[in-house]
């Protein structure tokens, strides 16, 4: 990898020479790259995940703290996205070709093409203190635009004040991430449901005298969900990418924010572990989706 991390840790000054040499051998930077890699792998499996160049704290400590906040953000917005996405997708599938379908699909494609970081900036400017809207529209809210919770409330405490404030701080980031990932879900939901609607058993259900709502809930949705589940699992990588951007924009110090910082300071132990965590997250998401599918679709058997 490029750059000499030791330079970013210790100033290039002769009087720090000894310290620098010590640091280099402490982090193993004097060994060949392949050897460093083997050592890393060894340590990975012995749960020794290295020490950050920057913070000099074990990377696991740093990242598990960040991970909690990232999970809160990603979890909240994924739940919002799935609920709204499924509702919008289902409704436009039912009203295919009608105004609602046309408008929601149009907005969907539009949102789909929106860079998440830019969406975050726009929302931030719309809801910050003294925003243009606040001067025009009385009662326009101002929402917190950075951090996990108000600095004045540090340190964190598990009480209602902190929780409420954290919730308030979560609003905009979660909204941004939801809007950014919503379109993908609702568009695929729509197409998947339209596919299901052409199946014969839907006609059977209608012939039974079920109302459109009953047909949708009992017959169409249960068949449209399995493809959605695998899609959302595949989308986790995309959602994480979005979360990174949101965290940077809102200075929400989760994994993504840490990644960008780590790139800036060439903090490789941290970066490597972030990639490992990302991979683990995706594997876990896929595992979870496989279990969900097993429960949703009786045709799938454990083989």
């Amino acid at each position: 990898m490029p750059g000499d991390p030791s330079l970013s840790i210790i100033p290039r000054d002769p009087k720090f020479r000894g310290l620098r040499d010590y640091m280099i051998s402490f982090f193993g930077l004097d060994r060949p790259q392949w050897e460093q890699f083997v050592i890393y792998l060894q340590r990975l499996f012995t749960l020794d995940w290295g020490v950050s160049y920057q913070d000099h704290r074990p990377v696991a400590d740093i990242l598990f703290h960040d991970l909690g906040w990232t999970l809160l953000l990603v979890g909240t917005s994924t739940i919002i996205t799935i609920l709204i996405g499924i509702a919008v997708g289902a409704y436009s599938a039912v009203r295919r070709g009608k105004a609602f379908d046309f408008v929601s699909t149009g907005i969907g494609i539009f949102l789909y093409g929106m860079p998440i970081f830019w969406l975050g900036l726009v929302l931030q400017s719309a809801f910050r203190k003294n925003s243009v809207f606040q001067t025009w529209i009385p009662g326009w809210p101002a929402l917190p635009t950075s951090g996990y919770y108000d600095d004045r409330l540090i340190p964190w405490n598990w009480d209602i004040v902190h929780l409420a404030d954290a919730g308030l701080h979560l609003l905009l980031p979660a909204l941004t991430l939801s809007l950014g990932t919503l379109a993908g879900i609702s568009l695929v939901m729509r197409n998947s449901l339209i596919d299901v609607m052409t199946e014969d058993f839907v006609t059977t259900a209608r012939a039974k005298g079920l109302s459109p709502r009953q047909v949708l809930r009992r017959h169409i949705l249960p068949n449209g969900l399995p493809p959605m589940v695998s899609l959302i699992a595949l989308d986790i990588a995309f959602i994480l990418g979005g979360a990174y951007q949101v965290e940077v924009i809102f200075r929400y110090q989760g994994i993504g924010f840490r990644t960008i910082e780590a790139i800036g300071s060439l903090d490789y132990p941290l970066l490597q572990f972030i990639i490992v965590i990302g991979g683990v997250a995706v594997v876990l998401a896929n595992l979870l989706s496989d279990f969900l599918l097993l429960w949703l679709d009786p045709r799938i058997k454990i083989s």
Binding site: P115, F238, G241, I249, L271, G279, V282, N286
Partner: protein, 307 residues
Amino acid sequence: MGTVDVVKVPGAISPFRARATVVSRRMQDIGLQVFHNKTAMAGLIILLFFTFLAVAAPLIAPYSPLTAVPDVGPLTLPGGVHPFGTNQFGYDIYSQVIWGTQISLLVGVLAAGVASVIGTAVGLISGFVGGWIDEVIMRFNDVVLSIPWLVLMIVVAARLNYLDLAGIILVIGLTGWSVTARVVRSQVLSLKERMFVERGRMIGSSNAHILLRHIFPNAFPLIFANTILTVAISILSESVLAFLNLSVKSNVSWGRIIAEAYQHDALTIGMAAWIIVPGLCIVFLVFGFYLFGYALDEILNPRLRRR
């Protein structure tokens, strides 16, 4: 190929001529459908507009994007000859936005080209050869697909250590081929089942011949539609990298303009256009590619057409 004597029937057109006619008729047919499809036309108009901006940038843009304007200083508020103001170095933002079209389009199209070539090759081989090779390729594809793309891109960007225009195109292209590979593979699998491949086998065609002469031309329209969609994604990727200061440093791109605006708190100093306009450009360009790509996909993909 073996030696197959072509029996000449007087008055019959050669099979090659017949094929050419079929293909050109198919293209004409597709062209006509695109022309009558409102979604496709809307997308095409947006794309033509931005292509015009990119090509004619030297003529339209009043100033150079990377030279300070003579009349006013840095961070001038919008107005007069500088409709969006000037940036921290005193460059005209309006001109920057117009010039930025070039990079976004160029990176988008070329990166999608790289991704499509790799994806198509992988998909063709994986789908056609099948067996354990297919299995290995698809598992590898799963892994590529499952790594958070931004991290992957950042790692590749850091690895290449070479982020000029070619570098950024390679980074986006190398990380963006797995969806194409999947689409092409499934298309190949279904084409393989079709009659004419069987027929090709029977008259003694080699695998390469079947792949290049029968399967590829039939899969091409779908690959093309998919490439258009990949362009949209590549444009978005470039903007994200540019925003994170990981993209081309020597040229202006929309993502970079937004990044600079963000760093200089454009919104608080009354220069909202500095952020809003390049963002809208990205949104509309990507929107144009999506509209065109989706419409094309719908025209070319009979399964979708039935809906």
